[in-house]
């Protein structure tokens, strides 16, 4: 059974928290791979939802991973001290 992938929206601001929650709820019960490579902005409320999802998947005994992350996403979780959400790979911005 292959992993389900959820691609996160660009802007994870306060407006994005409710739709994100719904999207995650819809994926529950299966291994989940989250693609954060499009994220330009990560806010506290979406972070809460992602942390909640990670805990929920752990409770369910299902694998949960952040497969890919944009530099902005990586910076965001570092800034907010949420290293448990660190991605397996960060999309490198080659222009830097």
């Amino acid at each position: 059974m292959s992993n389900t992938t959820l691609t996160l929206a660009e802007s994870l601001d306060m407006n994005a928290a409710a739709p994100l929650l719904q999207a995650l709820k819809d994926k529950r019960g299966k291994p989940l791979s989250v693609d954060a490579s499009q994220v330009r902005r990560l806010g506290g409320q979406c972070l809460q939802v992602l942390l909640s999802a990670q805990a929920t998947w752990a409770t369910d005994g299902q694998p949960f991973e952040i497969a890919e992350a944009s530099p902005e996403f990586t910076d965001g979780i570092a800034l907010m001290g949420a290293s448990q959400l660190a991605a397996q790979s960060t999309v490198q911005d080659l222009t830097q």
């Binding site: 928290a17 529950r28 806010g43 506290g44 809460q48 800034l79 907010m80």
Partner: protein, 724 residues
Amino acid sequence: MDPLAAIRDTFFQECEEQLAELESGLLAMEGGDQDPETINAVFRAVHSIKGGAGAFQLESLIRFAHVFETALDEMRSGRLAASADVLKTMLRAADVLADLVSSARAGQEGGHPQQAALSDELKAMSGAAGADDDGGEEDWGDFEFQPMSAAVDLPADTPPARAFVVRFKPRADLYAKANEAALLLRELTRLGDSNVELDTSEVPLLTDIDPEAAYLTWTVTVSGDTDELAIREVFEFVDGDCELSVEAQGASEGAGETGLDIGALLARVQADAIPTIETAPDEPFELEAPAPPPVADLAPVAPPPLSVVSPAAEVHPEPLAANQARKTEAGATIRVDLDRVDRLIDLVGELVINQAVLAQRVMEAGLARASAVAMGLDELEQLTREIQDSVMAIRAQPVKSVFQRMPRLVREVAAMTGKPVRLVTEGEATEVDKTVIERLADPLTHMIRNAIDHGLESPEKRAAAGKPAEGVVKLAAMHRSGRIVIEVSDDGGGINRERVKGIAIEKGLIAADATLSDEEIDNLIFMPGFSTAAEVSDISGRGVGMDVVRRSIQALGGRINITSKPGKGSTFTMSLPLTLAVLDGMVVSVEGQTLVAPITAIIETLQPKAEDVHSLGGHARVISIRGGFVPLIDVGMALGYRATPLAASDGVALLIEGEGGARAALFVDAIQGQRQVVIKSLEANYRQVPGVAAATILGDGRVALILDIDTIVAVSRGEMRKAG
């Protein structure tokens, strides 16, 4: 232009509008207006003036506006009743504010003689709440500059390399107000080396989580050159929307030592990468002048020092109806450079002339009136007229702007003469050309002074005549047959004709035995030199007589006259053209030239009989008209078209009234007719020519000069004196 200077100009322009709004609002309230939007607008006017004055550091203006605003706020919130006395004081305060604006505009910041007294009165009105708020000046004193990111480099009175432990737990409200924990953490970690720890223990599982609630708590250790003030400043906007504690730790017990800490590392990298937006805090780019030293005490957690505000401070919700009324009132507008409008008016003038030329050519070509070309041309003419009217309408403004200046004048004159006066205005929305409006202010000012000073009787006399003590001066504007008519009337005693006639005889203006109609006597007051020492008072004296008023009205192409009823009052009626760009003219010929005389100056035309014209020697002649003599001026001679005067029976005389009401007869060869002409400035296109005011182009394409009647009369007078 320097952008700040341009904004300063805008500010003073806006002040004028706000002052007008302020005054008309207060007057409306005095008249019983209880619409909450009226007091709101009044408050806003003073508030805006204060705001702008603050930006330009106009100290006395700020200070006075602040006190005034406080009193208005009391009134707005219902704590201060809008009684007649209160409103009187407010109106006087509005006058002082206007004066302060004028001096600030002129670059004088010296305050106002009545400022202190009125400030005290306003403060007394504001009562307890206002007294507490007496520190308005300090409020305005310390706004200057408080470095927001004080962290960048603060004075070294705090021991360096200390660490602070910041515990931060947002509430849902923080997010609801569009504040963001991530951004606050970003600011915080910029203050120094940071270690961020996240407590996720309160985060529920997906089934129970509210996506818009707040569950996270951060503990951030910040070390480096920072202090508690800078840290608290980061959280300034979210004070009350989060739990926050800041604790100082012993020196150099900082973060960063916890081995591999991505958060702190990243924060450091970021901090290095961020271009320093705030250069040095002691060199702020300021719109204002150099700032005073930063004020030390600004701990954001301390409740701001402010007067206790009673629950009654709720502003009344604005009624919907009033809102909607305002909405329609505030139509969409654009601001256009006046030069562009004038250029357009000029071009439309050309169009009108061109159209007339074309029409004439078509006529000459012998095309039938009903031909398609002629009919098309008629439509074109119609359209051209409409364009002209529309373009003229752009320059048109309501007379309100000049009417609005009068209530203050009335208050001042009423106070000086001790006569209670009520000013009634009508037709403020009547529109007329901007230039006409601008030039109306002086004559109107003089006439209203005159109406109160000379028109209205003293309260005792009014009582004796059974009139109410309060006199009424009415200022009204209306459109009447393509012109604007402005009336200034009073309900005073009317013209004392015996006395006026007496003065005129005494001054040698009329013969002692002259028989004059009532109307003629009333109009004697417009004669130059009529104002006498006995008449001149502090108020309407100043060496300016009604003759000057008449002259300025005539200069605008207008006429003025007076009607008066003994015991009932007098009415001055001015009739003015709606625009200065077109003129009603009498087209005449002189030695084959076509000239135009402004119709407003012409009283009548007559065919002189040889026996009525008398020579005074040289070329000077007079003509007898109904028993009196007026100079007969040969226009052809005056303008140098001919060397010898035309025989009296060969021409037509235009009886005109020139400067100061002096009469003369202009002698021309023939009258061609009357028509409206478009004025082209001769000065702009050629140069000033004595005796010629401007030029126009007629339908047949010929240029016709418009006569400057006053100059022609004045020049001929001089020659006549030489001859006599």
